[in-house]
Symmetry: C2
Subunit: 305 residues, 2 copies
């Protein structure tokens, strides 16, 4: 089993959805991805927190098997995001952002952490993603996430860092922005020509599609009766995905597909609770049970033509 | 192998999509469903055509293995629909409808046709659907399609006929209109309480979901690079679905799932050409090849939790 390095935001979130709200709850891409990945492999988290960061939260993160030695506490406030979801909760409305100490975030990877083989770069500025990659010593598999903001304001830097990663995770809007292609599989092929050899397109309630140069794979989303809070779904997906690969220790067509399914399964827990609550309380028997139900739901029989 | 009875419109369509157009091409729900079903089982078509219906088109239908004895030619014009698709072609804009002889359509099922075991009621008026059901002698499996128009203007009649069918095919908008549930699986369960024991929700490019009282199954859509004309996709799906079941001769969890996949596969050919052209020219080797590719794309491996 290999270790996973996860770089991204550690935050407090203010959340409001039709089904609940929280004033200041633990959040951030590295936190969601870290909790998810730690179910499968040891995690090294890279981020920054402010003087207001609660010791209890730090302990909770560590108890999950996440090493926080590379998450310094700096003077200032922890990154704060306040968002609201309405209706079908497809899109988060950002009500407030306070970057706090995250504004000067400059990830430093030191010592043995540079040799960690599996790397997840959450959707931070492409320049910081590139800096992390430069500090790593020949990682075995690198996954990059991004967001529309970086495609709009830092595209050249993003295109540069894309050339150096194995896999990129996007949603359908991002792939269109990045490639100009309206059609998902054409967009995926265009993106592969930009560097990464694998592309995952997250389609929310419609699951996730994974594309290689000459193949594609679809894993439907887990059907859920009740979504409470979509925050962190994508980061949980990516975290479980790379965690699964790290546990397997090898990247093959089979483990990649399994990792996508693991991502969907774990993300389905995340959205059932507010903030990180359901992701944290998810037990192994619950996850196993959902995996069994998922296979009943999504396994397709051979059709006789 | 059993026979399939298909009741619905036989029409001429005027089509305009970003990728092609046709002034007056063979169309109608019974035609698309008939061509699709006839790939798997013999088809008895029930409909009506006008004095303008071309003998060539009738011959083409018959050559596909479709019995048209219950498609009388009446004085007047054949049902004409003119529609246009733009952008992502998700919704057809209706530019013109001329019901012609279809206005007085009153399906008469006579003789041995009453004993056909597999019945597909395309989206005609619920009163006519009920009339067909009354004329049938204990069909083995009945599938009903409908559309938003009938839910809006003939809901009581529709609710009545729903009580007498085995399976209903809807899209996400229709299931919401019918049940008032925003959530697909809740809507499906509500619909099952209204009569049919199985519900299929067509999700277009996201595939089709099938629901029973305590189970669900998802078949993703076939990923396509180039959709030319979405007309008839739903009817082709339903036709191939019931044709597959009729060929199997039995309705089991396994054959139902296979039939959904067959529906997706055949519908994927339909939308690649204008009107019925690609559906008609689809060869068995092409269909087999696509089935193989589909299994590579949508088969999910067991995940190790």
């Amino acid at each position: 089993m290999s270790e996973v390095l996860i770089v991204g935001s550690v935050a407090y979130d203010g959340l409001k959805t039709p089904y609940g709200s929280a004033v200041r709850t633990l959040g951030g891409a590295a936190v969601y991805a870290g909790f998810a990945a730690s179910r499968f492999a040891p995690v090294r988290m890279v981020g920054v927190v402010g003087s207001d960061f609660r010791e209890d939260d730090l302990r909770m993160i560590r108890r999950a098997g996440i090493n926080t030695d590379l998450v310094p506490r700096e003077k200032g406030r922890t990154f704060f995001w306040k968002g609201r979801y309405e209706g079908d909760m497809a899109v988060a409305q950002t009500l407030k952002i306070d970057l706090g100490v995250f504004e000067r975030f400059d990830p430093k990877i030191t010592g043995r952490a540079r040799e960690i083989p599996f790397v997840f770069l959450a959707a931070i500025h492409p320049g910081l993603q590139a800096s992390v990659l430069r500090q790593m010593r020949a990682p075995k598999f690198t996954v990059l996430d991004t967001r529309d903001l970086w495609i709009k304001i830092a595209k050249p830097g993003l295109l540069k860092v894309l050339r150096g990663v194995d896999l990129v995770v996007v949603n359908d809007q991002e792939i269109r922005l990045l490639t100009g292609e309206m059609h998902l599989s054409k967009g995926a092929r265009a993106l592969i020509r930009m560097g990464p050899r694998i592309v995952i397109v997250k389609k929310g309630e419609h699951g996730a599609m994974m594309f290689g140069r000459d193949w594609a794979f679809l894993s439907p989303a887990v059907p859920l009766d009740h979504v409470v809070d979509p925050t962190g779904a994508g980061d949980s997906f990516a975290g479980a995905f790379i965690g699964y690969l790290a546990r397997a220790g090898r990247v093959s067509p089979e483990t990649l597909k399994q990792a996508v399914i693991a991502g969907n399964l774990v993300a389905s827990f995340t959205v059932e609770g507010l903030g990180t609550s359901s992701l944290r309380s998810m037990s192994r028997p619950q996850l196993k049970k959902r995996a069994t139900a998922y296979h009943r739901f999504a396994s397709i029989p051979k059709v006789r033509i």
